[in-house]
């Protein structure tokens, strides 16, 4: 079943197309990474899907509910964790969750039970009675997720959930997201590629308000895998790199030094030609080859390639 569905969803601010004709289907119980650089339209999409912003055109459904400002049924079955969650500093973490539980019309018994559950889930149970004003950034981020989970949402929207966290805080949040996907569809907007690689099954890449592709991370890696070659040599390979840069069916030629040895990365524009010709070129260079392989590209490589090819078009 589809958790999120958008049809030609657009948001224009005068001549600026913050989001242009988004067509998207996200299945249930997956972590969907909505990936794009700053200003790509990620937050606009989240605001549209959560009903905070009116679309210029198009429509969307979340968990079967039509997205709209006044649809309280939609809000009852979704959760939203903003990028910088803000709370009433005079409340304790527990008080905040009880208040949110009341807003979600849970019974007093449910509120007590659910508050305790989510506090344990986000590892804030020991700080539950402390004032939120004294919480660290990471604790606030986790409380932001806890308040979004109190009503057992069918779909959880997370806007840049790790953008301002240190590596430890990021790791904790990502582990938490992995635990959530058993019962909830998570729509996570982010510009951090490694986060998507770690937790998302499905990824949508957006740039300049346009959705460029939707695929699984593994399918994207397969699709772009055969185009990246990696070669490790014993001797200085600077001359060879210069020669590769002149070859028209190669792109993104780069030289790194790993463990004191030159490592050449190259992306082939014509795969078959590269597979046939590159070994000859290495042989003719006179260099001693230590390793030669076609590598799986990182999501960052894929992202850059998709965005660049879109810009070329």
């Amino acid at each position: 079943m589809t958790a999120i569905s958008a049809r030609n969803l657009s948001k224009y601010y005068g001549p600026i197309k913050a989001l242009d004709k988004l067509n998207l289907e996200v299945p249930e119980n997956v972590v969907f990474g909505f990936l794009g650089p700053n200003g790509a339209g990620k937050t606009t999409t989240v605001k549209l899907l959560t009903g905070f912003t009116h679309p210029t055109s198009g429509e969307a459904w979340v968990a079967g509910e039509k997205v709209g400002h006044g649809n309280l049924a939609l809000k009852a079955i979704t959760g939203f964790a903003p990028d910088v969650p803000a709370f009433y500093d005079w409340m304790s973490g527990l008080e905040l969750l009880q208040y949110i539980g009341e807003l979600n019309r849970l019974s007093p018994k449910e509120i007590k039970l659910r508050s305790a559950e989510v506090l344990v889930l986000v590892e804030l149970d020991k700080a539950a009675k402390r004032r939120v004003g004294g919480y660290s950034r990471g604790m606030r981020q986790r409380l932001g997720i806890a308040q979004a989970l109190i009503n057992r949402p069918k779909v959880l929207f997370m806007d840049e959930p790790t953008s301002a966290l240190d590596p430890i805080g990021r790791k904790e949040i990502l582990e938490l997201i992995l635990r959530l996907r058993q019962n909830t569809t998570v729509f996570m907007s982010t510009h951090i590629l490694s986060d998507v690689e770690r937790v998302c099954e499905l990824v949508g890449i957006v740039d300049k308000g346009r959705l460029l592709t939707v695929s699984t991370v593994s399918a994207l890696q397969k699709k772009y895998a055969r185009s990246v070659f990696e070669m490790e040599f014993t001797e200085n390979a600077a001359g060879f790199v210069e020669a590769l840069k002149k070859v028209e069916w190669l792109a993104d030629v780069a030289l790194d030094i790993t463990n004191g040895k030159p490592l050449v990365h190259v992306r082939a524009l014509e795969i078959e030609k590269a597979r046939k010709e590159l070994p000859h070129m290495i042989g003719e260079s006179g260099l001693t080859l230590e390793r030669y392989e076609l590598t799986l590209p990182s999501l960052e490589d894929i992202f850059m390639e998709i965005v660049k090819s879109e810009q070329r078009q």
């Binding site: 605001k47 959560t50 809000k75 939203f80 910088v84 803000a86 009433y88 807003l103 979600n104």
Partner: protein, 251 residues
């Protein structure tokens, strides 16, 4: 108005925890105590001055003292209400707490109206305490006054303060900056005060409620029913329009 009860509980707690009850009641109480004192001892204080002053200070009646108290609440008290209320929505919009609350199944009208109700209860509490103290102090220092007229004056003052609060709240929905909201609210309230001093049109302005209250205490029969009706209508209108203003604003 879905979510009314939990929102009201939160707003009432917030009034208490953020010292808004203490601030408002202290300011009102200050006038409740200081006005009868100053009206009673002003001539004596002037006599103590070493400079020769050729002004005849009249002896104030209880009615004039209570009217003086109402006048101060209507001006300085109003300023404090604007200062306390101007960030009610604007601060929540700026800090992001409004996003957390409004992402839950609650109506925008409940979000606004509970703020109005909680602050109104704060105003009613502060006004009641200060008015009782002022009346008792005036009775003790100066003399008695007609309690029915005094209650009437306080009710009219309350309607005017509620109108001012509603204006501040709707302005708070329009801006993320509390200062901008406060500026606009004060601008509107000062503008209506200027208009209310004009002939013909003035009698329709909410500011005339303060004159009516004064009249009750000084024995004048001049009433301003239009002013009362318009103040109530504008207060209601602000409370209906404020959620719409917030809805049209993209959070």
């Amino acid at each position: 108005m879905t979510g009314f009860i939990p929102l009201l509980k939160k707003e009432l707690k917030e009034q208490w925890k953020t010292n808004k009850v203490l601030i408002l009641s202290s300011v009102f109480l200050l006038f409740g105590i200081s006005i009868p004192l100053s009206y009673k001892y002003m001539p004596d204080l002037l006599k103590l001055s070493k400079q020769p002053i050729n002004i005849t200070i009249p002896t104030f009646t209880a009615g004039q003292t209570l009217a003086g108290y109402a006048g101060n609440i209507g001006q300085v008290g109003l300023l404090v209400i604007v200062l306390v209320a101007m960030g009610a929505v604007a601060t929540e919009l700026r800090s992001g707490t409004a996003v957390i609350t409004l992402s839950k199944p609650i109506s925008y009208s409940a979000f606004i109206n509970t703020k109005f109700l909680a602050m109104s209860l704060n105003i009613i509490f502060s006004l009641t305490v200060a008015s009782l103290v002022c009346f008792a102090y005036t009775f003790w220092l100066i003399g008695s006054s007609d309690i029915i007229s005094y209650i009437g004056m306080n009710l009219l003052l309350l309607v005017f303060l509620e109108f001012s609060l509603a204006v501040t709240l709707i302005c708070s929905c329009l801006f993320k900056s509390s200062v901008a909201c406060g500026g606009l609210s004060l601008g509107i309230l000062i503008f209506q005060a200027i208009i209310s001093s004009l002939p013909v049109i003035g009698k329709y302005m909410p500011g005339k409620l303060l004159d009516w209250g004064n009249n009750l205490l000084t024995g004048s029969n001049i009433t301003y029913w239009w002013s009362l009706g318009i103040a109530l209508a504008l207060t209601f209108g602000c409370l209906v329009l404020a959620p719409q203003a917030l809805k049209s604003k993209e959070i």
